[in-house]
Subunit: 223 residues, 4 copies
DNA sequence: TATGAATGAGGCTTCATTCAT
DNA sequence: AATGAATGAAGCCTCATTCAT
C-alpha cells in the first residue's frame, strides 16, 4: 500500500531514481501550496521548498505550473473519491443508508479541507482544468450510482417519495457539506464561530441529516 | 511645452475632478477583475484598462492592490445587503415570510455571481480582509435580525418548532443559495448542466424552499 | 535632425524622460548584440549592459525579445536605405550611373557589416520578421526604381541591351556586394585573406563593376 | 534483473552496436537541426528526437554541442565537395569547362540548401569552427586546382585573358551561387519570388554563366 | 555501449509600485 | 488632481549536461 521509498544510504537524496515517489512528493507539496494560495498565488519556489527534489523536476514531470495544478486537482479528487468508495451502504435500509451517506459526506468534507479548497479554486477558474481532465469525470459516476441505488430501493419500499432525482439529491448533500468548509472563514467572521466548534458541527450535521431525510420521505406534509 | 489638457467640464475627462466618481469607477473595474481572476490573479493593468482613469489614481485613492481589494470586497457586500434590505417581510405570516426570504436569497445570489465570487476569493484568503473590515460586519446584523424576528413570531404562533437558531437557519439558507452559484462550474462539468437551466433552477429553488420550511415546522415527523 | 538628448544635470540617468532617446539607445545596443550572436544567441542581459537603461525598459518599449529583434531589423534596413538614398545618379550618363551605383553598393555594404549580419540572421529565420514588417518593404521600392530609371535611359540611348530586368540586375549587384561581407570569414579561412585587404577589395570592386557593366552593354560577344 | 536487450541483428535497435552508423545517424539529425535554427537556436532534445539513439550517445561520441556542430559542419563540407568532385571537366575546352563549372556550381548549391545554411551559420560565428578544422581546408584545395587548370589552359589557348586569379574567379562564382540560396527568403520577401521559380532560376543561371564567361574572355570590350 | 532520471545555472518575462513633471 | 515614464524584485521556465544503473 505504501510506496517503498527505499532510502537506505538515505541522506537527502537517497530516495531518488524512483519516479513515482518523486512525482508523489511533488504532488503533495503542490496541493498544499495551491490549496493555500490559489493557482496564481502559489509559488513554484514554495512548492519546491516543501519537497525533497529540485525545481527542475517539477518541469520534468509536470510540464509547467498549470500542468502541475491540473494533476494536483486530479489527485485531490482521486483521493477523496477513493475515501468515499470505502463506505459500504449495500446492507443498510434505504433511510439508514441515506442518513449514513449524508453524515459521512459532511464529515468527510470536513476532514478534507484541502480538497474543498482545490475545488473552490477550480470554480474560480470556471472548471477549465476539470473539463480538460478525463480522469476526474469517471470518478464521480460512482458517487451518483450509489445514490441512485438508494433512491430506487427507497421508492420500491415506499419509504421515499417517487421521482427523486439522484443528481439533485447529491447537489443538496454537497451544498451543505461543501459550504460548511468553504465558507467557514467568512461565516465565522460575520456571525461568530459557534457553528464551527465540535459541538456546533455535530449539531449541524445532525440537523442536516434530518432535513435531507425529511425531504426524501414518502409523505411530505401537505402544503 | 505643457500639454494643454483643457478638459473644462467636457471631453473624455470632463467627469474627473469628481473624486467620488473616480473612486466608484475604479471600484467597479476592480470588482470585475478580482471576481474574474482572484486576488493574485487580478492585474492592476487590467483594472486600469477597464477604467477611465490612470494607474496612479488607484494608488492615490486605495494605497495598494490589497487596499483596493479590501474596498472592493466591502463594496460588494454593501451592494448585496442593500438589495436585500429592500425586501419587506414585516407584513407576512411567519411561514410565508420564511418562504419568501429563502426564495429571494436563492434568486438574489443567482443574480449576483460577482458577489459570490468575491466571497469565494475572500474565503480562499481565510477572510483576512473581512475580519479587518468594520464596515461589513455591521451590514450582516440586519440580515440575522430579520430572521430572528421571523423565528420568534413563528414560535409564538406555534407554526415553527421551538429553539430555532436564526444563525443556523441563515447558514442553511446561505449554503444552498451560495453553493448553487459558487460550484456551478465544477458541478456542471461533472454531472451535466440540467440543474442550471432556467427550469432546473426554478425547480431547485422550490425544492429548497420546501425543504427549509419543513425543517422549521412545529411537528417534524417523529424518527 | 539629431535628437535633443538634453542631459543637463546629466549623471547616469539625466537623459531619461526622453522616450525616443531611450528607444534609440536600446535599439543600437540590440543591433550590436543580435548582429554579433544571432536571435537566440543574443542575451538580453548583454543588451542591457550596453545600454544606459534598465532591462525593464526593453519590455516596456519592445514587448519581448522577438519584438526587439524585429524593430532592430527594421532600423538596420532604414539606416542603410537612407544612406543609399543620398546617392544622386540623376545627372550621370547611364553607364556612369550604373558603374557608380555598383561601386557605391559594394562599398556601402562593406562599410555596414552589422546590417549584413542582420540580414544573414533574418535569412536563417526565413525572413519571418521581414515579411511581418510593413515598414521595410516600402524602403526597397526606391532602390529598384533607381535602377529601373537607369536601365530605361540606357536602353533608350542604345548603350544597354533591351529588356534588362531591374530586379535581376539588383540581384546581381546585391549578390557580390553582400557575399563579399557575409562570407568573408569562411572564404578567408579557406582561401586566404588576400581578397580582403584594402588593395584586394579595391581590385575586387573594380572587377565587379566591369563585369556588371559588360553584362548590361548593348552588344554582347556572340556565343 | 538485467534488461534483456536481445537485439541480435533485428528489431528497432538492431542497427546499433555499429558505432559508425550511430554517429552518422546523429550527424544527419544534427545537420538538419543546426541548419534550421542556427547554433544556439538548435536544441539537443530536437536532435535526439530526430535520431534513433539516446541523448547520452551525443555526448559520448561528440563531447558537447559545440563539438557536434563542428563535426556536422565538416560533414556538410565533405558531402558537398564530394559531389563536386564527380564533375569531370578534363575533356572539355576551357570555355566549355568554365561554363559547365559555373552552371554546375549554381545548381549544386541550389540543390544543397542545408549546406548553404551551415556555411551561413558558420559565418555568423566568424568561421571559428572552420578555422579549427584541418579536415575542411584540404577539401577546398581541389576546387581551386580545378579552376586553376581551366584558367591556365584558357590562357595558353588565348581564349581567356591573362592573369586571371583562380581564387577571385572562384569568389565570383561562389558569390552568385551562394547568395541565390542564402538570401532567397529576404530577397523574395522584398522583391517577389519571380527569380526563384523554376523558369526564373534557369534564366538566372544562364545569365550568370554568360556574365562570368564574358568577364574571363580574352578581349573584353574596350572601355 | 546504452538509458531514463536528474540537475544547476542562467534565460526571458511579469508585476506592483514609484518618480518626475 | 493627474499622467506617462521608469523600475527592482521576483516569477516562471529552458537548456546543456551529468549521474546511477
Amino acid at each position: 500500500m505504501t510506496v517503498a521509498t527505499d532510502d537506505r544510504a538515505s541522506g537527502k537524496r537517497g530516495w531518488t531514481q524512483n519516479p513515482e515517489a518523486v512525482k508523489q512528493d511533488i504532488l503533495e507539496a503542490a496541493t498544499e501550496e495551491f490549496a493555500a494560495h490559489g493557482l496564481s498565488g502559489a509559488r513554484i519556489d514554495n512548492i519546491v521548498a516543501r519537497t525533497r527534489t529540485s525545481k527542475r523536476m517539477i518541469y520534468y514531470y509536470f510540464e509547467d505550473k498549470q500542468g502541475l495544478y491540473a494533476r494536483a486537482l486530479e489527485a485531490a479528487y482521486a483521493k477523496v473519491r477513493t475515501g468515499e468508495a470505502a463506505l459500504d451502504l449495500g446492507q443498510l435500509e434505504p433511510e439508514a443508508a441515506l442518513a449514513r451517506l449524508v453524515a459521512f459526506t459532511f464529515d468527510h468534507h470536513r476532514a478534507n479541507p484541502e480538497f474543498i479548497r482545490m475545488v473552490m479554486i477550480e470554480n474560480i477558474h470556471n472548471a477549465e482544468n476539470l473539463v480538460a481532465s478525463d480522469v476526474i469525470r469517471g470518478l464521480n459516476i460512482a458517487a451518483i450510482e450509489k445514490l441512485h441505488d438508494i433512491c430506487r430501493r427507497g421508492e420500491a419500499e415506499g419509504v421515499f417519495r417517487d421521482g427523486i432525482d439522484p443528481v439533485a439529491l447529491h447537489w443538496q448533500i454537497s451544498a451543505v457539506s461543501f459550504f460548511n468548509v468553504s465558507n467557514r472563514p467568512t461565516f465565522a467572521a460575520l456571525f461568530g464561530g459557534d457553528l464551527f466548534t465540535e459541538a456546533g458541527q455535530d449539531a449541524l450535521r445532525d440537523a442536516v441529516v434530518r432535513t435531507i431525510l425529511q425531504s426524501a420521505r414518502a409523505v411530505p406534509i401537505p402544503d
